[in-house]
Homo-oligomer: 199 residues x 4
DNA sequence: CATGAATGAGGGTTCATTCAT
DNA sequence: CATGAATGAACCCTCATTCAT
């Protein structure tokens, strides 16, 4: 799974462009290669098509983010800290509108891409599964710790947990957080919700 | 806000195409007009660009759906019935992958469209706001009814409510609902969650 | 087999370009459409690819030439006149380097084109066959007339006849007809050859 | 006229590719260098462009073939044997569709190559001329031997000779030699034709 | 109004050529 | 010398938009 420097440069360019708010569907190859500081033709030494570049860039990015959250979660020994770690991660990492969008889309499979590339996604050993794995581990630890009720089905537990995580994402994603709810208030509320649902 | 028959025909064509699973980004004008049974040039008598057609079609569709859920909610006098009515609506109306995707995207503003058309969206008096209004009315009724705690901030109440609605959408949206959780179990669990969080 | 005016315009453009000495392999779509006096995109309303345009243009041209020689031959009642008619036709019609080349290639199947289009050629009911038919009719008439020996195999008769026709083509095709042989001398020699071989 | 090993390797690669049926117009530099087993850049140490490589490769190949037929002809002391030697050479050497095609094209100058390289061809001291030389020597020997009539113009004699040689080439080149004419019958017929025309 | 034939700007992709190693 | 990674000019094709009928 070694990835060449040029590939990384292209991935980073795609991510940077997306973070800049460029629509993923209007991305031009020249935009990407210019941003990556390489020639247009060079991209085709490493990828067979524009779509391949973009898809793989997204997977690369999501993979990195997942790895980060995994490492993060390993540092904490109790559920409360882990929940707040996730919130913290969202605040710092998933805050950007664009990358959040991508991750979110992955989470519910609503990627809009040429059908021919949906196969590619299938081949990629689904990050959805990875997210699910993380949630599963999260919930199991909570049960083992005794803070989550054992009798609730794991699926339901994951659903409940994810619902509050998504709520926090949407909170950050909203254009105008006009009505006065501070980040801390929101975090407390969502944490309490999780405990009410699963505790 | 009178809308001509030709416009409706084009809107319906766009919606039908999306429901058929056609990627919104690869929609061609000729696809739309063919489906609508009118000439390609005719579309430009009513709209200034392809994007205008699609955007307005989506708004038209979401508007209809929102109107439907509004009428539906008016039929019920208590919160419990209203919550189940929403679940029922998701089961019947928002089940299709595509239309759900559109609505969902609208709900969190993650439309991916050429920036030039984001203004158009802004001009459209945000359906997000309408969704928010519905949630607000929902929550207020719950408080008036005495089943939701008055001391929770309305923003938080809406957040909690939406989180469980989204969970139900995702439940239907998942490709493989492999693990055995029946629809009824899920609905009960989500309803209980709402009551635990807000009751 | 009705052919639209636009198609004809494109065919004529291709032929004209070839007659001008443009290499068939370096022909650009824009060259063709410019010459035809139509927009680049228009070509794709009538053909699916550049190769399709060129291939069909060549077949169209060869078809016309064959039709012409056919009509021509029908006007004459004896073999001698027919042979000279063919020479005459070569002098006026097949003189151009390029069109000769095309015809010639067809005659021996040495078209160099993307393999994917060889099928197209196959579908076209071989003009090679048509050329063969003309030769066959030619020879049969000669036999009936009593100027060609009946005992020679038709294949051999056609071979002999074609060899002298080709010789005349090559005579015109040569860059420098340095050594003094007049057209009339050549025609007489070739005619005599045919009679010596087949008479 | 010393030719380096690398050049030969490239020439051989081009020839091999052509014999494999690859279209000369779609030949890529990388195809050639890969086949030759050398680096892509190396080709440009010896040639200034792709076309130069291919053109020179073709000349190299034709030169070799001509040399071979020359040696072959020197072995025979009478015209009849020489004619059959040529037929034999066509059967063994010029049988392949591709190399035949190249040679044939050379013979009538119908090379399709970017005009810029036609000059290159001119500079190459025309192999057409060499072929012509061979034909001239052939005819002169026939006259000296007394089997060809002295009063026929050398140009005409060469024309007649070449016409039957070409006929034999076309005979082998035809896809389907469906109609029953054996190689021997054809050779006899063509030999007789030559004698009837020139004897 | 309605149409669809015509258009050409735009962008993905290829591949001959270069040049730093 | 030899290499092959990098390059970008070139070109095919798509499709949103226009406009004559």
């Amino acid at each position: 799974m070694e990835v060449s420097a040029k590939k990384i440069a292209l991935f980073d360019a795609v991510i940077a462009l997306i973070e800049d708010g460029v629509d993923i569907n209007t991305l031009k190859v020249s935009d990407i290669t210019n941003r990556a500081g390489i020639g247009k033709g060079t991209a085709y030494e490493y990828f067979r098509s524009k779509e391949e570049i973009i898809i793989q860039a997204l997977f690369y990015d999501v993979g990195q983010r997942i790895e980060k959250i995994r490492r993060l979660l390993r540092q904490y020994t109790n559920t409360k800290d882990r929940i707040h770690a996730v919130f913290q991660w969202i605040e710092t990492d998933a805050r950007q509108k664009s990358s959040f969008t991508q991750l979110f889309r992955m989470a519910n499979g609503s990627f809009e891409f040429s059908n021919s590339l949906k196969e590619e996604m299938a081949r990629q050993e689904g990050y959805c599964k990875e997210i699910n794995d993380i949630l599963t581990a999260f919930v199991e630890a909570g049960v083992a710790e005794g803070v989550f009720r054992r009798e609730i089905s794991p699926v339901l537990q994951r659903t409940a947990l994810l619902s509050q995580i998504m709520s926090f994402m949407i909170y950050f994603h909203q254009e105008d957080i006009s009505e006065a709810v501070t980040v801390e208030e929101m975090k407390d509320f969502l944490y309490e919700n999780i405990m009410r649902m699963l505790g």
